[in-house]
Amino acid sequence: MATKPITRNTVIPGFGPTLGYTVFYLSLIVLLPLSALVVKTASLTWPEFIATVAAPRVVASYKVTFGAALAAAGVNALFGLLVAWVLVRYSLPGKRLIDALVDLPFALPTAVAGITLSSVYAANGWLGSILEPRGIKVAFTPLGIFVAMTFIGLPFVVRTVQPVLEELEEEIEEAAACLGANRWQTFRRVLLPELLPALLTGFALAFARGVGEYGSIIFIAGNMPMVSEITPLLIITKLEQYDYAGATAIATVMLLFSFLMLLTVNLLQKWSRRHAAR
């Protein structure tokens, strides 16, 4: 049996150059650095590798980083959906301003965000001075890490959910109402399933950003070993001590974790989208 050639006669030109460029670009920008990471890690022996990545201080940092990133992405999924809903469904004065505001965490240099957040949440800051007397310490605790990650992750959810929400026909909600569904049933059974793939994408992006975030977190985290130290900070610390192999070893583990998380989200997404493709 003859195999079909990849390039069939098509009206879209430039299959060769575009595919070639895509492969080259991805190799150069993504694959090459990542393989360098693995190669560098491989200079460690297996026991050395385990000792580095499973050190108590490192394990604690995984927990803080991934835990806070998951929580932040979860909160963003909820409130990002809400923001997107308001932006799409209601016409209110200053809507365009709110819309622009959503993108600010994207644009702000992370260090600026970090310094601002820590000054607001510090004991003498605007919010910190209200919260701390009530026993809620945000700055220099894991809670602060969570706050920073929430801040930088919000646009991801809003910007992925918004277009999908805009495309949803109002008719399906009317149809649900005619069939006797109340608002909650309509949301839960008609709207949410339609939004879920986009919501999961937003969640995954926000999570990935949170895990990789450095600049805005280190100012507010307090960076206490075993308590509020994030993994990227540990990597920097190792680098500063010229322990390149150790740094890349931790990075490799992070990469693996992140990859697994994203894979899971992707599978969930595929499942929630099972109706569309067929």
Binding site: E169, E171, I172, E174, A175, A176, A177, C178, L179, G180, A181, N182, Q185, R189, V190, P193, E194, S272, H275, A276, R278
Partner: protein, 343 residues
């Protein structure tokens, strides 16, 4: 269940969608709201459903005031032009939706739901497709799923908004005949909106002709077609030729003096070779065979007006018309209205 619409008004900004509309839809009938776009027919349907609230006036179901009742509680089945199916649900889940959102006390058991759904799918002839998703169905199938979904909750009233509007011509004709048969089986009071006069004439028990937010005429298909109340209805329900005429006790004569306007359908124009009483002399300008009929465009001598006649194939062959030939056109049947309406 009968529906009464009493002096309903609806305004969208400066646009008057409905202007003092009064209508009674008798129980068990299939009524068509027919009109051009912007005539308010869809707005009226949505007000009956409760998807829109009237600015003034009231809606009564079986004499009971329903105007302020929420769409959820009206027990209406609504079928949308673009189906509005739930994409993430299978056909079965779509049809079952109305049953599964009922309050726990009234909700039928899973088994009962299944049985009811399959019974409905049998009714709409989609039995084998219960596990498909809407994206795997054709337009006609989707609309039948939408209909089954609407019928699942046993609505007192079935409302259809241009239900065949998004389908291609052949499927449209099939589906509307099928809808007619279905209605004869289940007899639920139904109102459907259409801009297609053929559809309304073929399917409905009664036709409500609407224009610019008002009702122009209500009647059976035969009534509105044969005895249109005014020039608009005449024009909207079929082809029109205008003759200036003098009306003499029903004896219409095509002539020059402008006393009133004579309205004649294309198929009511006789084309002859010989001059006869009431006929006008005309020149054949264009001949076009359209399916079973032949359309002939005639230029009336002396007036510069064109008249369109529709002949049967046989009739056209017998006449053996040629372009530029002189013939005589005689209206077989004419309706006169005072000349205040311009087409």
């Amino acid at each position: 269940m009968s529906i009464e619409i009493v002096s309903v008004n609806k305004q969208f900004g400066s646009f008057t969608a409905l202007n003092d509309v009064n209508l009674t839809v008798p129980s068990g009938e299939l009524t068509a709201l027919l009109g051009p776009s912007g005539s308010g027919k869809t707005t009226l349907l949505r007000i009956i459903a409760g998807l829109e609230t009237p600015d003034a006036g009231s809606i009564r179901f079986d004499g009971e005031e329903t105007t302020d009742r929420h769409v959820r509680e009206r027990q209406v089945g609504f079928v949308f032009q673009h189906y509005a199916l739930f994409r993430h649900m299978t056909v079965e889940e779509n049809v079952a939706f109305g049953l599964t959102v009922k309050p726990r006390k009234e909700r039928p058991s899973k088994k009962e739901v299944r049985e009811r759904v399959h019974e409905l799918l049998r009714l709409v002839q989609l039995e084998g497709l219960a596990d498909r998703f809407p994206s795997q169905l054709s337009g006609g199938q989707r609309q039948r799923v939408a209909l089954a979904r609407a019928l699942a909750v046993e609505p007192k009233v079935l409302l259809l908004d241009e239900p065949f509007g998004a389908l291609d011509a052949k499927v449209r004709v099939e589906l509307r005949r099928w809808l007619r048969r279905l209605h004869d089986e289940i007899h639920v009071t139904s109102v459907f909106v259409t801009h297609d006069q053929e559809e309304a004439l073929e399917v409905a028990d009664r036709i409500v002709v609407m224009n610019k937010g008002r009702i122009e005429q209500v009647g059976t298909p035969a009534e509105v077609y044969d005895q249109p109340a005014n020039p608009f209805v005449f024009d909207f329900l079929g082809s029109v030729n205008l003759f200036h005429c003098r009306s003499e006790q029903g004896q219409a004569r095509a002539a020059a003096p402008e006393l009133s306007m004579g309205y004649v359908r294309s198929h009511d124009i006789e084309v002859e070779r010989r001059q006869s009483d009431g006929a006008v002399e005309a020149e054949v300008r264009h001949i076009q065979a359209v399916g079973p009929a032949v359309r002939v465009e005639l230029l009336v001598r002396g007036t510069g007006k064109t008249v369109e006649a529709e002949l049967s194939r046989d009739g056209a062959e017998r006449l053996a018309l040629g372009l530029g030939e002189t013939v005589y056109a005689r209206p077989r049947k004419m309706q006169t209205f005072v000349a205040d309406y311009q087409i």
